[in-house]
Amino acid sequence: MTSLSSDSLSARTASASLAASAPAMVIDDVVKRFGRGTEVVTAVDHVSFNVAQGEFVSVIGPSGCGKSTLFNIIGGLLGDYEGNVLIGDERISAPHPEVGMVFQEESTFPWRNVIDNVAFPLELQGVAKSERMDRAHHFIDMVGLANFEKNYPSQLSGGMKQRVSIARTLVSQPKILLMDEPFAALDEQTRLLLGDKITQIQQQLNQTTLLITHNLTEAVQLSDRIVVMTYRPGKVKRIVDIKLARPRTSDVVGSDAFGHYVAEIWNDLREEASRGMADSESAASRRGAHG
């Protein structure tokens, strides 16, 4: 796949709907423990769910519940785990070429300007210079940084750097997109607008997407399904179908149905979040316990 031409897009959509029956990704009874002896921390505890081809699934849970660990396992960066993560028929133990990752930490290359950062994956694939500049330009435009192509990361805000990372992952048009709290550094307005852009190309490319987040609004706005995780050990608490119509834009945030979903998931999440909070409070020596 070398361009965003409508022909190749529709071809891909067609083949995708043929394969819609088999899940694009299977997460089957995954367990990950860190440390040994009495110091063992179970970061991910018997987590199972599937993601269908073209589906947008969010994993939501309080911080410290094992979301990034799960992200790293699915991305093939943590090969040593129990259970199975399957993409196609392949058990993941190393990065899969069809998976693109956006990391939670700031991950731009400070020695490359914006356009060279975004074109980086294409450079590795040996795409000719003029073509890779065109394609990089397209995605930079999409994340709203068209005027900053020649700037270096040190000259950008945290949110702008994160948008560069997102564009860098999207530019190679991965079939499966994994994102670990990609919008955490963005303000609410940018988050909503960028969410729209992501939804748009996700729908266009029929891209299978797994979004890790701790943000409820974001999860409901974007997802077909939401996996709610418990706090330590990280288990699946519940999986919620989001039956809001597509095409969907950030306008949906104002609707009754949206509010209903947010309230419903918050109900589940509240208990976990307060356990997480109590945990960090007791760690910093006991003060009054709220909520």
Partner: protein, 258 residues
Amino acid sequence: MAKAGAIPFTTRWMPEMFGIGTLVVAILIFELLVQSGVVNRFIIPPPSDVFLAFERVVMEEDILGRVRETAFEMTVAGVAVVIVGIPIGALLYRYSIWRRALEDWIGALAAAPIVLAFPLFLVLFGRSSTTIIVMAFFHGLAPIILKTVEGLTATRKVLINVGRSLNMTSSQMFWKILFPSALPVIFTGIRLSWTFCLITVVGVEFLINLGGLGQLINDLAERYDLPGTYASICFVIFVSVLFFVILERIESWLQPAR
């Protein structure tokens, strides 16, 4: 202080003017101290005498030839140290067994007064430029190795993960992520190494009375021409500044706006 629009002239050149001003004031203070007899003029000549000695040193002592000679030895040692030191640093980073085995020894090498081993090098390489270059090379090698290891090790984990997620080969990983990420620290290493190299070049020229500026300083000191000696030292500073300006140019060319 900054006003809208272009940076005012005084703000733009303030650091430079302040630096030069400080130097001028220091020189004036010395002049006063020596002229008033507080400082013995046979230990430190008055700056005005040093200034006057410049002409003599340039006209009579073939200063250009000597600068060229010292700069040549410095260039060969400085380039060799970079070409050899960075790969050794990369290997130590890659093979942690070597690193644990050798890192302390290399640290010791950096601290060792290699200049004092000049008789050994004289036996090996004769009384020649080669001796000077080889000694400068060994003295300058350690910092660049250590800083290369340090810089590569400090590469942020998430950048390495980006590389892994893109299925980069280990050579791509090195050239496109580890090395550029380590570059600022490696440049610190080059700066340290070159300082060591220049000290050794001039020091050994002085000790074995051969070659460029070091020998001239030795000669003039022996003739008890103190103003000439100090004037020659100014040329050593000039060579040093020259190398560091070149290095800074290369650095900002390699990594703009970092």
